[in-house]
Amino acid sequence: MKYTYDKENESLKLELIEEIDMNSCKALRSIIDGYIIKYNPKECILDLNKVSFMDSSGLGLIMGRHSLIKMLNAKLTLVGPNESIKKIIKLSHIGKEIRII
């Protein structure tokens, strides 16, 4: 996972590159949370441009990060999900609560 932290805007961007399923989720969760806790950003951007596959475990991952980020008074943005991932996100309530670009 690549990450960039923009100090000026206190914005943390994480670029996910793997297939997101239940098997990869556990490791992803602790890595993402590690970065969020380290930088305590005002905005966290999850870049999904290079994620070719995601199932409902990815939805759980996004929902969980959303709760953590909300607790830290920050906001979560998703960037570049493919059409199937967009469809999955829209099926859940989380689609209405987070910004998707």
Binding site: M22, N23, S52, S57, G60, M63, G64, E83, K87
Partner: protein
């Protein structure tokens, strides 16, 4: 005309991607659009993950996946059965309710069955307490036909 495959896996999460690759490979024999392949992969991923996460308490138990690709009247159909021999689902209506999960602490979204219903044309759930669960998924493929000129 039809083509059948059958895969038996141990109930390990690392095997879900093995099944996804096999099913992708099978349907790629037809000229199916990429977005449809992704949707079928997602549905199968949900069904197999469910078996691994919920069907058994012990390790090294079996999940059996069989898939049939058939052509009837020039239309292509994909049928997938996902079967486990585990504890069974107590209340199928509840289990298929969007957002319902028995493992919220593990950040499960509870959207598996909703995704299967959305991405496939038909889903049948046959579950018996103590003997297992069989999920049948059916999809009519949007195969691109090569025209005979």
């Amino acid at each position: 005309m039809e083509n059948n495959i059958k895969i038996e896996i141990d109930n390990k999460l690392c095997n879900v991607s093995v099944v996804r690759v096999a099913i992708t490979s099978l349907i790629s024999q037809k000229d199916v659009p990429l977005d449809e392949i992704t949707e079928i992969k997602t549905a199968i991923s949900e069904a197999v993950t469910n078996c691994i996460e919920h069907a058994y308490e012990e390790e090294n138990q079996k999940v059996v996946i069989s898939a049939k690709l058939s052509t009837i009247d020039d239309m292509d159909f994909l049928l997938i059965n996902i079967e486990d021999f585990g504890i069974g689902i107590e209340d199928v209506d509840l289990a298929t309710t969007p957002g319902y999960t028995t493992k919220p602490e593990l950040e499960h979204a509870g959207m598996g069955f909703t995704i299967m219903e959305t991405f496939m044309d038909e889903i049948t759930i046959d579950s018996k307490m103590g003997s297992g669960t069989k999920i049948k998924l059916m999809k009519k493929l949007r195969t691109r036909k090569v025209s005979n000129i």
